[in-house]
């Protein structure tokens, strides 16, 4: 009897494991494993302290905001490599405009910078049908160069305290403002992706473009829109950098595109499009922040951090390919 029931149990477990969709759930498993690992080894270094946890959230907010938009881009079977540079450009545009024209124009200018670049990306991809990889690769250099050029490579300080409070520097009670920004991005992203027609159109276009077109979806328009959104989100991320660090610099966001894309893919969104997992993306981005934070606490040099981070990403993606 008992062996039988044990057998049944093990076969039920086996069934559960074989049904478990590794690709979409690996991020939660990886997140928990790495969290426990760091908690055990780095508990004495303050890893588990409230301050440190809030720090992780603060540091990943910009990545999370860009990653939510990137989830739409990748679900649409496109890519946006320019987000990091656009964030840098937007940070300096915002800072310079605030200095010269005040708070509201500054906020609008930062968003507009992202929107313009997103629209150019989207237009070139959707109308001229140039692969997004190439368009945004070019834009990566263009935006970074532009940001450096208009500032003469100099940092642009922000002294407007309202701006700093709203965009990243401030706390609302015990809650960091950046945490609220993250929640808003994820919340809106999740609803739009899963509960609106637009979200369906984005995913259908990425899953089977021909089918989507035959169904009456204007696929060029959805592709244009996801790149536009990604540009605006990158603009917002740049403004959050500027708020948190109280200055605009062309270096802000540099290299973030890789972290953002890794977060989205780790989160279970297929690089080939068709499905976007917003909650997975959030955890992917927190996972990246977790690793950064843990490696710093462990006292690794930044060169060593890069090596370990690269290895962990490869391992997680390799695991997620297991069916």
């Amino acid at each position: 009897m008992s062996t039988q029931s044990a057998e049944r149990e093990s076969s039920a477990l086996h069934k559960f494991l074989s049904r478990l969709d590794w690709r979409s759930n690996i991020i939660y498993i990886a997140f928990i494993i790495v969290f426990i690992l760091f908690a055990v080894t780095l508990g004495d270094n303050g890893f588990l302290s409230v301050g440190n946890t809030l720090n992780i959230i603060r540091q990943t907010a910009t990545i999370s905001v860009m990653a939510v938009a990137m989830t739409f881009v990748i679900a649409n079977a496109q890519i946006d490599l320019s987000v990091g540079s656009v964030a840098g450009l937007s940070s300096v545009v915002t800072a310079m405009t605030i200095m010269n024209y005040g708070l509201i124009p500054g906020i609008l200018a930062g968003l507009l910078a992202g929107a313009i670049i997103g629209a150019i990306n989207g237009g070139l991809v959707a109308v001229l049908r140039i692969p997004s990889f190439l368009v945004t690769l070019g834009m990566l250099g263009l935006a970074a160069g532009l940001a450096q050029w208009i500032t003469n490579s100099a940092p642009q300080p922000i002294t407007n305290q309202t701006y700093v409070l709203l965009f990243g520097g401030g706390d609302f009670g015990p809650i960091p403002g950046l945490f609220i920004w993250t929640c808003m991005a994820v919340g809106i992203g999740w609803i739009v992706m899963n509960r609106t027609r637009y979200g369906r159109q984005v995913q259908a276009t990425g899953g089977n473009r021909t089918a989507a077109e035959y169904t009456g979806i204007r696929t060029a328009r959805t592709t244009f829109s996801v790149l536009l959104i990604s540009g605006i989100a990158a603009g917002l991320a740049g403004m959050l950098y500027a708020g948190r660090l109280q200055s605009g610099r062309f270096q802000w966001g540099q290299g973030d595109e890789l972290t953002v894309i890794a977060a989205v893919i780790l989160g279970g969104t297929s690089l080939f499009g068709g499905r976007g997992a917003i909650i997975g993306t959030l955890f992917g981005s927190l996972f990246m922040g977790l690793i950064n934070n843990g490696l710093i606490l462990a006292g690794l040099e930044s060169s060593q951090q890069q090596v370990v981070r690269g290895a962990i990403i490869i391992a997680a993606v390799a695991l997620s390919r297991k069916k």
Binding site: R197, R200, G207, A211, A212, Y214, T215
Partner: protein, 505 residues
């Protein structure tokens, strides 16, 4: 009576369609009545798909009129066609694999629940109702990529019905279905027509047309070559109408006066494999064509793959000209003179984005060298020779092969492999998806090739063509040789069908 009283579901009158200066449809009349299955046949390029694309609003007509339910219809885009109740079940499936069944059915017309948000629960309930009406059971919450292709088609049909389609156009609906799925499809077609839905059934397969269609329209060179009740014409008449050049005789067995004492080129004894063969034996003499028959999964394709060096055998022997061989990869098979023309030309037979030239010469590069480099002159000469010999219709041999019609693509595959001069040629479904004209040409190529003293193993699910070329038929069942029949022992298609199905000893 009722034909006169009620207007037909769709009437297309004097339809002309030009692409630039090329007239693809030259005044075509086509009529679909409520509740009928209307077969639409014709060679590739005869105008079938253009006619249907005009009806679906993908192309606009150059001249002519379309009436729906007796009223003049202006169909300018696919949305218009949908509004007129014209639905399409695509050959290349048009579903989004990463979405659920219900999400696909209501794609871009999502049902809204609370707060105007898209509701999957409503969609699933509604999808359930449509499947009930179709008399099938499909889980609306399953992701499409996890379903078999047979279900994909059901979802396509449900998607069209969800838009209140009155006319369903099915383009080669059985192309990727297994036998029992075909039976289900035909039952479904009956259910739908009983509800008054008209079906346009595009197919190359004569037996299916005879089984399912009420009427048939045949197009040839952009004109109507035949409109008849299917019960009032025989298959030969239909084939004549399709190809229009008295080639029907090609589909009849021709005795090529074989040499029964010719040496045995290929001998297979008690072959088993991990892929499902358990005991297969057969022999093929020089100059002989051996047909392999059997149901899906009976071991036909599996045997072809072992002979071609793709899968390995676990026991038993393969002898080429009396010498025992064992292949662990296709390259070794080529060296022993065995070539496999695989089942799926797009996946396994061609590099689709490469040119016709590159595809044709790929296995023969060693003959095209001039020193260490490929010689453009030799390449050109070989390509021209093959295009000529195999009558491949191609305007530019340097254009990607994906631009060729299915029939011409298949000719490229066959030319490519015959050109390597294998002693044993294994062909797995070499005529699937090609029109009848090309089919007869391919059968003739096979006969000629065998006539030159080579051995051919010919696999086909279409019995008429199997019987047209095979000198002997080996029937496989459950991975074993079930029976071997000389062509002269087989009286006809039905008898062979019964043996394959295992209903006669």
């Amino acid at each position: 009576m009722s034909d006169i009283m009620t207007p037909p579901a769709v009437r297309m009158r004097s339809i002309v369609k030009k692409f630039g200066p090329v007239e693809v449809l030259k005044s075509v009349n086509f009529e679909i009545r409520h509740g009928e299955v209307h077969a639409l046949a014709g060679e590739n390029g005869a105008g079938k798909s253009t006619l249907m694309k005009v009806l679906q609003g993908v192309h606009q007509i150059t001249d002519g009129e379309i009436e729906v339910g007796g009223e003049l219809a202006m169909i300018r885009d696919t949305q218009d066609a949908e509004n007129y109740g014209i639905g399409m079940v695509f050959q290349e499936f048009s579903l989004v694999p990463s979405m659920t069944v219900a999400q696909n059915i209501f794609l871009n017309r999502e049902l809204r629940g609370k707060f105007g948000f898209v509701s999957d629960r409503l969609a699933e309930k509604e999808a359930e109702r449509i499947f009930q009406r179709m008399g099938v059971s499909v889980d609306p919450s399953a992701e499409v990529r996890n379903l078999g292709t047979g279900y994909w088609q059901l979802v396509e049909i449900a998607k069209a019905l969800a838009k209140n389609a009155k006319v369903l156009v099915m383009d080669e609906p059985t192309a990727s279905l297994a036998k029992h799925e075909v039976d289900h499809l035909f039952a479904l077609i009956e259910t739908l027509t009983a509800q008054g839905i008209a079906i346009v059934y595009i197919s190359h397969r004569m037996d299916e047309i005879r089984r399912v269609a009420d009427r048939i329209t045949v197009l040839r060179d952009g004109r109507v070559a035949m409109v008849e009740k299917v019960s009032e014409v025989d298959s030969a008449q239909i084939i004549e109408a399709i190809i229009g050049r008295g080639l029907g005789s090609q589909l009849v067995y021709q005795d090529r006066e074989r040499d029964y004492d010719a040496p045995i080129l290929l001998q297979v004894d008690h072959l088993s494999s991990g892929s499902g063969l358990s005991d297969v034996s057969l022999e093929t003499r020089a100059g002989e064509i051996v047909g392999l028959a059997g149901l899906m999964g009976s071991g036909r394709t599996e045997l072809a793959r072992v002979l071609g060096g793709i899968d390995r055998s676990t026991s038993g022997t393969v002898r080429i000209s009396g010498r025992e061989v064992g292949f662990s990869n296709p390259s070794q098979a080529h060296k022993e003179g065995v070539a496999l023309i695989p089942e799926d030309r797009r996946e396994q037979g061609l590099v689709l984005q490469h040119s016709v030239t590159d595809n044709l010469t790929l296995p023969m590069m060693h003959e095209l060298m001039s020193g260490p480099l490929l010689s453009p002159r030799k390449t050109r000469r070989m390509t021209d020779q093959l295009v000529h010999d195999y009558e491949i219709k191609v305007s530019d041999v340097d254009a990607p092969i994906s631009q060729l019609s299915g029939g011409n693509q298949q000719k490229v595959v066959i030319a490519k492999w015959m050109n390597t001069k294998p002693r044993v040629l294994v062909m797995d479904e070499p005529t699937s998806g090609v029109d009848i004209g090309t089919k007869t040409e391919i059968l003739e190529m096979v006969r000629t090739y065998a006539g030159e003293g080579n051995a051919v193993i010919f696999i086909s699910s279409e019995l008429p063509e199997l019987l047209a070329v095979s000198d002997r038929v080996v029937i496989l069942r459950d991975g074993q040789t079930f029976r071997t029949l000389e062509r002269s022992e087989i009286e006809g298609e039905e008898q062979l069908q019964l043996i394959i199905q295992g209903e006669a000893a």
